[in-house]
Symmetry: C2
Subunit: 432 residues, 2 copies
């Protein structure tokens, strides 16, 4: 087969992101699937984000896509629960699978859509509906399939988490909301986010997948964050807790709890350390125990990552004609990319040089480093060590080629004042 | 089909855990797959952990399992790279899939095993080989398939991470190692763990899946933690860093870096906050950005969680006769478990009661709570608020039924001294 053809309805934030990811990562994705995935048809009334669509066929009416028999997979990215629902039902009726990012649609109409898919022997996939690009649906459905899931605790709305992170700095809700809106983290009407409805949609879906229960959006107890005071965040901190807007799904002997509300959680728990707009879902399974999944819960490319992961799953099934075949090492064709020897790695370093305490010694060491064009990020000098009588000079360097650093270290160790081998530990900022 | 039959070689820590998980979670797993998964045959020379095997057929010779034509899936849990390799090759030659937890086997002989599987049109799955029960292999292979993976940074050896977490408390390596050994976190010969070989095996596998490159264990630069001093952890802390034993796989323009070594990472990065024996893998994808996957990297049931996840994947394929069909909500049969109304939820609470500053008011409030049998975990009294003239009494309760708490709050609000509505926020410890 020459390519797997995708039809995308909607060119908003997520639609544009999806087109972008499929184009920019086309080669890598084709290497994984065994054949290219092609955006063959887009349905959108406008392209206000200016997405690059090249030669892709565009229809004003999204229902035109459903007439295009060349398409293998349909993707719903228009949002909302009226036209989106009609379109998805009609798409499933063609017998082809649908991928969506629409949490409200799945939470409120999922049962109907899944029944339709079953009737037509096809699929609805919705990884992107919860926690952005974090593959939490797949994790609950497959990765944790060995467990009886006991509970889920999720920071699944970035707007609320950003606001609470800022309120901890002794700022009030209304002031932070304005900042969130200006940064694009909150809508003009922020109700859905701050009152918890968005989180409730997502929790509904998580609970259905984790517990094997029907989608029960109407049964989720929902309480927002708009009435919290920074005083309570401060007092909670005094008591050893952070306040987070959590979605909680818990299995108890009496039944399932589904609730979204502000919650104090211990500061030492990893979930409490998730700040800003990031999402995180903690899951307790009776075999694995607690595990946590953290990443960007929103954003054009982050959400597209989840949409395209579902597309890849379907494409792999299409390519293997229904049988599910994933290449062992995840790629159909392995690249013979060279593995660099350690001497060719560029890294920043922590160095601890132990020297006799003499005037000018720090300058000597700095001179050696500058001779190799090694820039210094920071230097500390520590007092004389009681046992060795040596002073420690701590240096943080900027990134440097390992082979250059090795030579610089040899020269430092050769200095008369140096009394012990140089201790070196690599530094990673993990930010890009 | 009446059941999917599994043959397990090895009844050690992971083998026993796997049998236990498949038995204890049998009903939940059957509900997910659509038919039971049965441990039909075990191969083990001994059962020194005293695993409950009921009526399961046990052979002393693991090669007997390969003669049993009733089995659908083979599971290798004996470890090591000699007999395990022979057995896996012979198992694949029967045309049936193999699940393993054996990182050394995959890292060192994976290419051969995968080629054998391909020849016989079957599978080798190895989720349990890396990061225990965290489904990181599936995440890289499927959940993040939309991304070009830029780098992976993993805390993938719990022994080393436990030791470094303890050394941060001004303890030396050798002293902590002894404690780790007594707690069962380190082997009698700890070399594999502390010198980084175990992490290198795992990194090899992660990189192959993430970058679509051959398994390249011999090219991983490996450096252990045994020469670190607690002084360096302290100085790194001063500079704003934690030292972790990381496995790093990075794509650069010149090639791929594969390295395991002690590394300074910024304290504010979530990876730096992972302590003790837990594992965590951070992945940077060019669409999603950074994401993190955290959980138990070792342990009988935790590792079994990953083994059984692979078994479930294969069982789903067996049951749907090669076509890959996952039920939409992850379960073939949905349970109609009741959703509890919020009044029936038991939770601990943070309460802020604002009262006029009068003698005995705290006692009044405490009396109301004890009248409802609500136990108090902590009480703080805060000074008079400048604007309201009221004093805040902060109370942390033990778990209480929401309906009881509602009544208690009504009574507190009815007290003469109470000057504002009671603020209440639920508390979750997330520890069990």
């Amino acid at each position: 087969m020459r390519s797997v053809k995708v039809g995308i309805a909607g060119l908003g934030t997520v639609g544009s992101g999806t087109v972008k990811v499929l184009c920019e990562n086309a080669a890598e994705i084709a290497r994984r699937v065994g054949c290219p995935i092609e955006v063959a048809h887009i349905g959108a009334r406008s392209n206000r984000l200016g997405c690059e669509t090249g030669q892709i066929k565009i229809s004003q009416d999204i229902f035109d896509l459903l007439q295009n028999q060349d398409l293998n997979i349909f993707v719903e990215l228009i949002g909302g629960t009226t036209t989106a629902r009609e379109w998805v039902l009609a798409a499933l009726a063609t017998g082809k699978p649908v991928v969506t990012a629409n949490k409200a649609l799945i939470a409120e109409h999922g049962s109907e859509l899944l029944a339709k898919a079953k009737t037509h022997k096809t699929y609805v996939l919705f990884e992107a509906a919860v926690a952005g690009g974090i593959p939490i649906i797949k994790t609950l459905r497959e990765g944790l399939a060995a467990n009886k899931i006991e509970w889920i605790a999720g920071i699944i709305n970035g707007t609320g988490n950003f606001i609470l992170s800022e309120m901890l700095k002794d700022r009030e809700f209304s002031e932070v909301l304005i900042e969130a809106q200006s940064l694009g983290y909150a809508e003009a009407d922020p109700t859905f986010d701050v009152e918890g409805t968005d989180a409730a949609h997502k929790l509904t879906i998580l609970a259905a997948i984790a517990f094997g229960m029907p989608l029960s959006f109407d049964k989720v107890y929902t309480e927002g964050i708009s009435r919290l005071s920074s005083l309570d965040l401060l007092y909670a901190d005094t008591l050893g807790f952070r306040i987070k807007h959590l979605g909680l799904a818990c299995r108890t002997a009496e039944g399932v709890e589904l609730r979204v509300h502000p919650t104090l959680i211990p500061k030492k728990n990893l979930l409490a350390k998730v700040d800003g707009v990031m999402n995180a879902v903690m899951v307790k399974g009776n075999a694995l125990g607690p595990s946590l999944y953290y990443g960007a819960g929103a954003g054009s490319l982050a959400t597209a990552s989840a949409v395209v992961a579902d597309i890849v799953d379907l494409a792999r099934a299409v390519v293997s004609k229904g049988a599910y075949r994933i290449p062992f090492l995840a790629y159909e064709h392995l690249s013979d990319v060279p593995v660099l020897p350690i001497t060719r790695v560029r890294s920043a370093y922590y160095l601890r040089v132990q020297v006799q305490e003499q005037p000018g010694v720090l300058a000597h060491v700095a001179q050696v480093l500058s001779g190799f064009e090694i820039s210094i990020e920071a230097i500390l000098q520590k007092s004389v060590h009681s046992q060795t009588g040596l002073v420690s000079i701590i240096i943080l360097t900027q990134p440097v080629l390992e082979s250059d650093l090795n030579e610089a270290i040899r020269k430092i160790e050769a200095l008369a004042e140096t009394g012990a081998p140089v201790i070196r530990i690599r530094v990673e900022t993990l930010s890009e």
